[in-house]
C-alpha cells in the first residue's frame, strides 16, 4: 500500500476487545486491522456473533462496561492521531459530528417517547450550535432528502406511528444530520423488506457520493456487500479471515468460509426445491478459542495442519487480497 493513494479516513491497527462475563472472558474481536479511504465503502460481513458490531462500537466507544479494549489497539481517524488517547470530553465532540452510526434495529434504537423531529434535531443543537428554529428547518429539509413524505407532519410523530422503512430513514437522518466524515451502518436493512432494503441502500449510496463520506457497512448478507461496497472484509470468530476489493473477492474467493457464505445465498437461477449448500455446525465458542484455524471444525478442506497451527492473514497473487488459510481455494492442497 503506497501513500500516494487518496487520504485515509480511518485506520484501525491491532484492535482487540475482550468481554468479561460472570464465568469467563470472551475474545470478541481479535487483532483486527484495516484501512478505509475517503469516500469509499468497506463492508464487514459475517455470521451473527462474529464480532462485527462490537468492532464498530469500539470505534465509537459505545461498548458495554464489561468490555475491555486491548492496550496496543490504535484507531487513527482523519487528523486525530489516536482516538483512544482522547479524553471523554474531547471524544464527545467527535461522536455524532465526525463519526456517526446507524444502529441495528431502527424500531428499538429510536427513543419511543420522543418525537422523531426532536431526535434528529438533537445533534444539530448539540454540535452545530443551532437554535431550535434553525434546527427544525434543517431537519425538515433533511427528512425530505431522505425520501420521507410529508416531513412537516412526520416531525411531530413518535416512532411507533411510523413504519419500519420510515423509522430507518429517520435513523439515517439522525446519523447524517451533521455531515459526518465516517458513517458506520450496523445492519441497516436486516429488519426490512427486500424492496425497502434496495431503497435504503440506494439512498445511502447517493448521500455518500454527494458528501464524499466514508462508510463501514455491516451486514450478514454477502450479496448486499458485493453489490454495494468497494472493499469487503469477512469476519469469523472475531478475526478478519479474508479481505479484498469487491470485484476481486467476487471473481476469486480464496477462503473456504467465504465460499460457504456465498453458496448459502438462495439464487434466482436455481430450480425449485434446490438443496442449498449450508455451513454445518455452530460458530466456535469465543470463550475457549481453539489452537488452530477457527473455521477448521466446519471446513471441508481442513487437514491436520489446520487444527494444530493458526493461519495468519497473507496476500495471495494480488497484494490487496489477503486471507487466512493454509489451503486456500485455487491452490493444490
Amino acid at each position: 500500500m503506497n501513500n500516494s493513494l487518496p487520504a485515509r479516513t480511518l485506520e484501525v491497527k491491532n484492535l482487540s476487545v475482550k468481554i468479561h462475563t460472570s464465568h469467563n472472558i470472551i475474545q470478541a474481536v481479535n487483532d483486527v486491522s484495516f484501512n478505509l479511504q475517503e469516500g469509499k465503502t468497506l463492508a464487514i460481513v459475517g455470521e451473527s456473533g462474529s464480532g462485527k458490531s462490537i468492532l464498530c462500537k469500539s470505534i465509537l466507544r459505545l461498548l458495554p462496561k464489561s468490555a475491555v479494549v486491548a492496550k496496543e489497539s490504535r484507531i487513527l481517524f482523519n487528523g486525530y492521531d489516536d482516538l483512544s488517547l482522547l479524553s471523554q470530553k474531547e471524544f464527545n465532540k467527535i461522536r455524532g459530528r465526525n463519526i456517526a452510526m446507524i444502529f441495528q434495529d431502527p424500531m428499538s434504537s429510536l427513543n419511543p417517547v420522543m418525537k422523531v423531529g426532536k431526535q434528529i434535531a438533537e445533534s444539530l443543537l448539540h454540535h452545530m450550535g443551532m437554535n431550535r428554529k434553525q434546527a427544525q428547518k434543517k431537519v425538515i429539509g433533511l427528512m425530505k432528502s431522505m425520501g420521507i413524505a410529508m416531513p412537516e407532519q412526520r416531525f411531530f410523530q413518535y416512532p411507533h406511528q411510523l413504519s419500519g422503512g420510515i423509522c430507518q430513514r429517520v435513523a439515517i437522518a439522525i446519523a447524517l444530520a451533521c455531515n459526518p466524515k465516517l458513517l458506520i451502518a450496523d445492519e441497516p436493512t436486516t429488519a426490512l423488506d427486500v424492496t425497502v432494503q434496495a431503497e435504503i441502500l440506494d439512498l445511502l449510496a447517493f448521500r455518500q457520493s454527494q458528501k464524499r463520506m466514508s462508510m463501514i457497512l455491516i451486514t450478514h448478507d454477502l450479496g448486499v456487500a458485493i453489490g454495494r461496497a468497494d472493499e469487503i472484509a469477512v469476519m469469523y470468530a472475531g478475526k478478519i479471515v479474508e479481505q479484498a476489493p469487491a470485484e476481486e473477492l467476487f471473481s476469486n474467493i480464496r477462503m473456504p468460509y467465504t465460499r460457504a457464505l456465498m453458496a448459502s445465498i438462495p439464487r434466482l437461477d436455481n430450480p425449485p426445491h434446490t438443496t442449498l449448500a449450508c455451513i454445518d455446525g455452530q460458530p466456535p465458542n469465543l470463550a475457549r478459542p481453539a489452537k488452530g484455524c477457527c473455521f477448521a471444525p466446519r471446513c471441508s478442506r481442513a487437514q491436520d495442519k489446520c487444527i494444530k497451527e493458526e493461519p495468519l492473514l497473507r496476500p495471495g497473487i494480488k497484494k490487496d487480497h489477503v486471507f487466512a488459510c493454509w489451503y486456500p481455494i485455487g491452490e493444490a492442497s
Binding site: A191, T195, Q197, I226, P266, R267, P272, H273, T275
Partner: protein, 324 residues
C-alpha cells in the same frame, strides 16, 4: 380432476379501524394448492400475506369467502369440527422467538399440540417430542431449556417441530427465515425441504424475498395491497413474469455481482408511491391499485381494474398491459 388440498375462493378480510373506517386487508383473493405442492406468497409488508395465512387457520375468521380444505368449507364448520380438523393444518408463525412461550421449557412447547389433541399420555408425549426435536436438529439437552437461552435459528427449529407434532397435511410457514442470518437461513430452508419430503407436506410459504421463494416453491403468487397480481410457476418466474410489480420485486433482490448487472434492465421501484390499504375502498378507487407506482400505467389503468386472467396454464396475471 386434480387433487386440491386447499382451495381459497374470493377471500376477503376487513378490519375495523375506529368506528368508521375499515382496512381492506385482503380483497377477493382466490387460489388453490394441490396435494404435495408448495405455493409461495410474496409481497411487501402490509400487503396481507399474514392475514391470508391467519384466515386459513380461522383466527380470525374471514369477512367473506370460502376456504375448502379437503372439500370441507372451514368457514362454515362449527368449533367442535374445527378442533378436529385443525391438527391437519398447522402454522409456523412469524418471529420465532416471540411466538414461543418464554416460561415453558422447549420440550413442553413441542409436546403441547399432542396435549391439546389429547392423543398421548405424558411419558409418551415426552418421548415423541424428543424424537421430533431430534429430527429437526435440536439435541436433547437443549430441550430442557427455555426460549431465551436459544438462538434465533434454534427457536425456528422448535417452531417447526411444534407444528409437525400434530402430523399435519398442510403447513403454513409465515416468513420462516426473514429474521435469520444467511447461513442459518440456508440450514432452515434445507430442513423444511427434507421434512416436506419425509412427511409428504403441502406448504404455503410466505416470504418477501423472491429468491428464497423461487428455491422452495413450485408456484409463486405475488400480492399487492391485498390482491393477487400474478401467479406464476416458479421456473417461469425470472424470464416469464408479466406483471410490472413482479419485475420491480425481482429488481430489489441484492445482486450477487459487483455493482449492477447491465444485462437485465429491471424496473426500479417507485419510491414513496405505495398507497395505504386504508385509502383503498373497492367502491371508491376504480382502477388498478398499483398504477401509482407503475411505469407502464396508462389511462385505462386509472379507469378500470384489471382482473386476474389466465394467459397460460398455471400462469395468471392481473394487468392491462402484461409483457416481458
Amino acid at each position: 380432476m386434480k387433487d386440491m388440498l386447499l382451495s381459497v375462493k374470493n377471500l376477503t378480510v376487513h378490519f375495523n379501524v375506529g368506528r368508521r373506517h375499515k382496512v381492506h386487508a385482503v380483497s377477493n383473493v382466490s387460489f388453490q394448492i394441490q396435494r404435495g405442492e408448495t405455493l409461495g406468497l410474496v409481497g411487501e409488508s402490509g400487503c396481507g400475506k399474514t392475514t391470508i395465512a391467519r384466515a386459513i387457520m380461522q383466527f380470525p375468521k374471514p369477512t367473506s369467502g370460502k376456504i375448502f380444505f379437503q372439500g370441507e368449507d372451514l368457514t362454515c364448520v362449527n368449533n367442535f369440527r374445527l378442533r378436529q380438523l385443525r391438527p391437519q393444518f398447522q402454522m409456523i408463525f412469524q418471529d420465532s422467538v416471540s411466538s414461543l412461550n418464554p416460561r415453558r421449557k422447549i420440550i413442553n412447547t413441542i409436546g403441547a399440540p399432542l396435549k391439546i389433541i389429547g392423543k398421548a399420555k405424558k411419558e409418551e408425549r415426552i418421548r415423541l417430542a424428543l424424537k421430533m426435536a431430534d429430527s429437526v436438529g435440536i439435541d436433547p439437552k437443549t430441550c430442557y431449556r427455555r426460549p431465551f437461552q436459544l438462538s434465533g435459528g434454534q427457536c425456528q427449529r422448535v417452531q417447526i417441530a411444534r407444528a409437525l407434532m400434530a402430523d399435519p397435511k398442510l403447513l403454513i410457514c409465515d416468513e420462516p427465515v426473514s429474521s435469520l442470518d444467511v447461513s442459518i437461513q440456508a440450514q432452515i430452508l434445507n430442513l423444511l425441504e427434507t421434512l416436506r419430503k419425509k412427511h409428504g407436506l403441502t406448504m404455503l410459504f410466505i416470504s418477501h424475498d423472491l429468491a428464497v421463494v423461487k428455491n422452495v416453491c413450485d408456484s409463486v403468487a405475488v400480492m399487492y395491497l391485498g390482491k393477487l397480481c400474478e401467479q406464476v410457476p416458479s421456473e417461469k418466474l425470472y424470464h416469464g413474469h408479466c406483471h410490472p410489480y413482479t419485475k420491480a420485486l425481482l429488481s430489489a433482490i441484492p445482486n450477487t455481482k459487483p455493482r449492477i448487472d447491465p444485462q437485465y434492465p429491471l424496473d426500479k421501484i417507485n419510491t414513496g408511491g405505495m398507497s395505504s390499504p386504508m385509502d383503498m375502498t373497492p367502491g371508491l378507487s376504480k382502477g388498478c391499485w398499483y398504477f401509482t407506482r407503475c411505469s407502464r400505467a396508462q389511462d385505462l389503468c386509472v379507469k378500470q381494474e384489471p382482473q386476474l386472467s389466465e394467459i397460460e396454464p398455471g400462469h395468471n396475471v392481473a394487468c392491462h398491459f402484461p409483457n416481458n
